[in-house]
């Protein structure tokens, strides 16, 4: 049976993609940012996930103001890196996992989540930057990806409670899939940042670190945070952090944090990254 063993959270800041694409990710001045992913690059080679369910938000790329899906799942065969106005990132085409994606979609809808189904779309930095940060510069992405796009651009975004519940429903769906697959769920976006208005540049280190602390065991309390509180405390775009709750919901109640990285600033944004593995005991308990 398919199984979710681990998950990770990471910011998806576009500048990181620009740095990598210019071949400057090993430059000394960026070391404080990229060194925090060295562990991750070794870890992912040992983990060898077959499929990553990658939770991100589209930034006016595949979706514009015509259609704004709250939760959209990619069921396509492949996704091209998008031209976001300065040419497409020179990274591999993203291979989908349509069979598993359709299984998850059917299960989610039957569990009460009215998903929007996407068969063709380009994917922007929200999806490709996390792949680059974790897998590095590769000829081919070493796993299949199911994009899960969440609206965080137009208010209101889905609530934290709904995101957490969606994560739990994804886990239930994956565990009913008959093929032996190692599946990971990644939550991306955040941490604190605000890209508009006189308050632009807001960073709330204390809030971000508390969020990362609480995500491990007190995620039910985090799920009660309203979008207004995210905006007030962590900036208009800080509310992307709600997507980390989908990842958290897809894991066991008991997880081990095996890595954490936090750095300010990357461009306008606080960078956050952590990795969770389901603990063995909880894996047995939660296995059925």
């Amino acid at each position: 049976m398919a199984k979710i063993i681990a998950g990770l959270g990471t910011s998806h800041i576009p500048l990181l993609g620009h740095i990598i694409d210019k071949g400057e990710s090993r430059a000394e001045n960026w070391a404080p940012i990229f060194d925090g992913f060295q562990f991750t690059k070794r870890w992912i080679k040992e983990q060898k996930p077959d499929v990553v369910i990658l939770v991100y938000n589209d930034h006016a790329t595949a979706f514009d103001m015509k259609i704004i899906p709250t939760f959209a799942i990619g069921c396509g065969e492949e996704y091209r890196p998008a031209d976001e106005g300065y040419g497409a990132r020179p990274v591999p085409t993203v291979k989908g996992a349509p069979k598993l994606a359709w299984h998850i979609t059917e299960s989610l809808i039957k569990q009460g989540f009215d998903m929007t189904i996407v068969n063709e779309m380009d994917v922007d930095h929200g999806l490709t930057v996390p792949l680059s940060m974790v897998f590095g510069e590769v000829e081919e992405w070493p796993c299949q990806v199911i994009p899960l796009a969440v609206n965080t651009v137009v208010y209101p975004a889905p609530t934290g409670e709904r995101c957490l519940a969606l994560g739990k429903a994804i886990r239930a769906a994956v565990e009913q899939f008959p093929e032996d697959l190692n599946v990971q769920v990644w939550g991306t976006g955040g941490m604190s940042h605000q890209l508009l208005g006189e308050r632009a540049g807001l960073i709330n280190r204390e809030w971000d670190l508390a969020f990362m602390d609480d995500l491990q065991s007190h995620y039910e309390a985090l799920a009660k945070i309203s979008q207004v509180e995210y905006i007030r405390e962590s900036g208009t775009e800080g509310s992307e952090m709600v997507m980390w709750l989908i990842m958290r919901g897809a894991l066991n109640h008991e997880v081990r944090e095996i890595h954490r990285h936090y750095y300010v600033p990357v461009s306008n944004t606080a960078l956050g990254h952590l990795i969770y593995e389901n603990t063995d005991a909880a894996a047995c308990e939660g296995g059925e």
């Binding site: 508009l196 632009a200 540049g201 709330n204 905006i231 306008n268």
Partner: protein, 140 residues
């Protein structure tokens, strides 16, 4: 909905991109979206006013685009992820475009970011009497 009923109307220096903003900014944002295509970027650069006149935008929106007045563009329903398509077509970084909405020069803005960003202290509530205390849990 009356502005006073919005639970986020007392966050200083912040415009929340809600349904009201989506409605007034629809054509402005779709214009920005059109700049994703190189041929449209070229047509826009060749004659900005003529290109804008193809869109059912208000004069105020068109003027704000011509002036690259991002504060005004946000007030007129522009969304930052759409507006950066305009600033990117000018070759401006996101941080440089964003900084123009603050009271800082691009250089001072980047210096503030390097020093850890803008502190939330005093920036949570428009009413400064409230701003020192942490916000209480707000309803979903």
């Amino acid at each position: 909905m009356n502005n006073n009923n919005k639970p986020y109307s007392n966050i200083p220096g912040t415009t929340v991109f809600d349904g009201d903003m989506v409605r007034v900014g629809f054509h402005l944002n779709q214009f920005c979206m059109s700049l994703m295509q190189a041929s449209n970027r070229d047509a826009f650069k060749q004659d900005e006013r003529a290109y804008l006149d193809q869109w059912p935008m208000t004069q105020a929106q068109k003027n704000a685009v011509l002036a690259r007045d991002f504060t005004q563009l946000i007030a007129l329903g522009g969304n930052i992820y759409y507006l950066v398509k305009l600033s990117s077509s000018d070759g401006l970084s996101v941080a440089a475009a964003v900084s123009t909405m603050t009271d800082l020069s691009p250089e001072d803005y980047m210096e503030m970011m390097r020093n850890g960003g803008r502190s939330p202290a005093g920036n949570r509530f428009t009413d400064h009497r409230e701003s020192d205390k942490k916000s209480s849990k707000e309803q979903q």
